[in-house]
Symmetry: C2
Subunit: 365 residues, 2 copies
């Protein structure tokens, strides 16, 4: 009662060796039925549960896959729905990027007999959470920018790692498998839509200050579409924000409207949360969306459709990204250890789709 039972206890009480006890769990058929039953009975009686740690140590594999994601929780997000929709506060409406990936990974992992260990990066934790995760899984996925490149480099020498969202780091991480979405294509198509289908030409783009491959790619798509339409644009977004939250989006809209001489006809944001924040600013300033100003986001999170007007955006197949990540990991894992290093790194780009809603004028508000 005081100490948890081990193989030794079970072995002793059932008159067999620990090897047999182990076999009963690992490979039941290799033990005579009669013996097996006896062992199982004792185990049940004692309350024995094999230690995953010991198991993992001895067999050097855990049957667990991991995911490290950034703590992007947006405190605003939860009250937004209320404000925008007139319904009660609805925390379950705000399904984040990472939630989708978790779901995708969990499902795929289960199919392959793995469990999923998830951990969000604490901003400046002393102990790198990665080390914690990395030490207990057979392989894991990392959302871009969650883990210091340096750490990743070290860890990826030890076990399969797949990088999610964001291009392959050019430096030392180019041996990682990698999954991204067609950021550039999506933003280009969305921009083209605004220009050609809605006839808008005075556009403004709001991105992220810190270097972010995704945002850069999106901005690139924006620029391409503009140039293709003969609209001149700078090499930089019209505004860069410090964080891609709703609060910053709201502030950005204000700044942009104050700054630019003639009001832009459309504000394009690098993600949905900022776009939603901007909606508020515009309402406060008495501007109608999309009549006075069109607004678009990127990501396709649930929130984007719940606010009014619903935000036109680019949907990323986040769930699928999670599934693909697991597939990649499993493939590496089953390919025999040597092959793990030998195999060429895989890099896939998942397609995105433009979702036309009310905020650009495609649907009634």
């Amino acid at each position: 009662m005081s100490t948890t039972p081990t193989v030794y206890d079970v072995a002793e009480r059932s008159g067999v060796s620990i090897a047999t006890v182990s076999r009963v769990y690992r490979n039941p058929d290799s033990v005579r039925a009669q013996t097996r039953e006896r062992v199982l009975a004792v185990a049940r009686d004692l309350g024995y549960v094999p230690s995953g740690n010991a198991r993992g140590l001895a067999s050097r594999s855990t049957g667990v896959l991991g995911l490290c994601f950034p703590d992007y929780s947006d405190p605003d997000a939860e009250s937004e729905v209320e404000a925008g929709h007139g319904d009660e506060a609805d925390d379950e409406a705000a399904m984040l990027y990472s939630d989708q990936i978790i779901r995708g990974m969990e499902r795929a992992a289960r199919r392959h007999g793995y469990a999923l260990l998830i951990a969000a990066s604490l901003k400046g934790g002393p102990e790198s959470l990665v080390a914690k995760v990395a030490g207990r899984v057979d392989g894991f996925a990392v959302l871009a920018r969650t883990v210091p490149t340096e750490d990743l480099e070290v860890i990826s020498r030890r076990q399969p790692v797949v990088m999610l969202a964001g291009p392959r780091e050019s430096n030392q991480l180019d041996h990682l498998d990698h999954i991204e979405v067609a950021n550039s294509d999506g933003q280009r198509e969305l921009t083209r839509h605004l220009i050609e289908d809605h006839g808008l030409r005075r556009l403004a783009y709001v991105g992220f200050a810190e270097e972010s491959p995704d945002v850069e790619a999106r901005f690139r798509g924006y620029v391409e579409a503009c140039r293709a339409a003969g609209i001149e644009v700078g090499a930089e977004p019209d505004l860069r924000v410090p964080m891609m939250t709703q609060a910053e989006g709201a502030r950005a809209a204000d700044a942009l409207l104050d700054r630019l001489g003639d009001r832009p006809e459309a504000l394009l944001f690098a993600n949905d949360q900022m776009a939603v924040g901007a909606l508020h600013t515009l309402e406060r300033r008495g501007l109608r969306v999309p009549q006075d100003v069109a607004v678009t986001g990127f990501d396709g999170i649930a929130l984007s459709r719940l606010v009014r007007p619903a935000v036109t955006t680019v949907r990323q197949p986040m769930r699928r990204m999670g599934e693909e990540a697991v597939e990649l990991l499993v493939r590496r894992l089953s390919g025999g250890q040597p092959a793990q290093n030998a195999a060429e790194p895989v890099s896939m780009t998942l397609p995105v789709s433009v979702v036309r809603r009310a905020s650009c004028g495609c649907k009634p508000a």
Copy 2:
């Protein structure tokens, strides 16, 4: 390169003993700065990452909390939104019960320095997934009916377990901590609302065939409200379905409408998914909701608000349930091993709230 580096490798290359290497990670201050740096440099060079398994084995604690949840995924769920809302397929809209709990647990776990291991029960997997989880965590939460009572009984003797949703099993599991929601209160209030505020009196309840404490409690609330209003009801739901999915909900609505002589004025379902399924059936049959028939669900999942008409339901604080679960576990874990058994089992009931929407006639469709 071929074999992953261990403490031994690091120790050797940096000219210290493995004990020192271990200390560098566990208790950095106990090692002279100069030595520490040397060790860390070698570790970085070698690509060393401490093995969580070995760590766990030696220190008998993992720093991981677990969650076992049932595989309630509803394949229909994803196309529903499209049909009901006229928008594109929107997989991110369907945030399930378990997703919320995961989120709550993850967040609380992170606050306490734990990671989260999640695993859905494969229907009839040979290896109990519980064993898999149980063996690798310090404690875990179980969604009711995910794990055979017998297994739970065994495992709970070994580590803290908190049971989520569903009343305390009366038999042998009454020493587990336990969190449930006010199922009965919620359903009673919702029913009262239909009767008193909307003047409906011909009601029909659809529940679950298999014994489910939650559904039973909900039905009980329904019965109480009916009786209080002088409406006679049987001791059994009007219909029991084999699974609480949309497909079953749709089928149930058909069956109910065909069977009952005079059409019920309201269909009350034991969860949202069934209610949403019923919406389709009603539309197909040319019945208007809520004018011809009111429909209600239970749970308050995101889907319930996205369909048209939005479904009136009872919201459960699932996220909070996840958080509370972690708090409970952490408390047990930090209370010293002996206290773990000594402490009285905690049982808490979280409040729910009725969400009035269009499907009962409270809001415009």
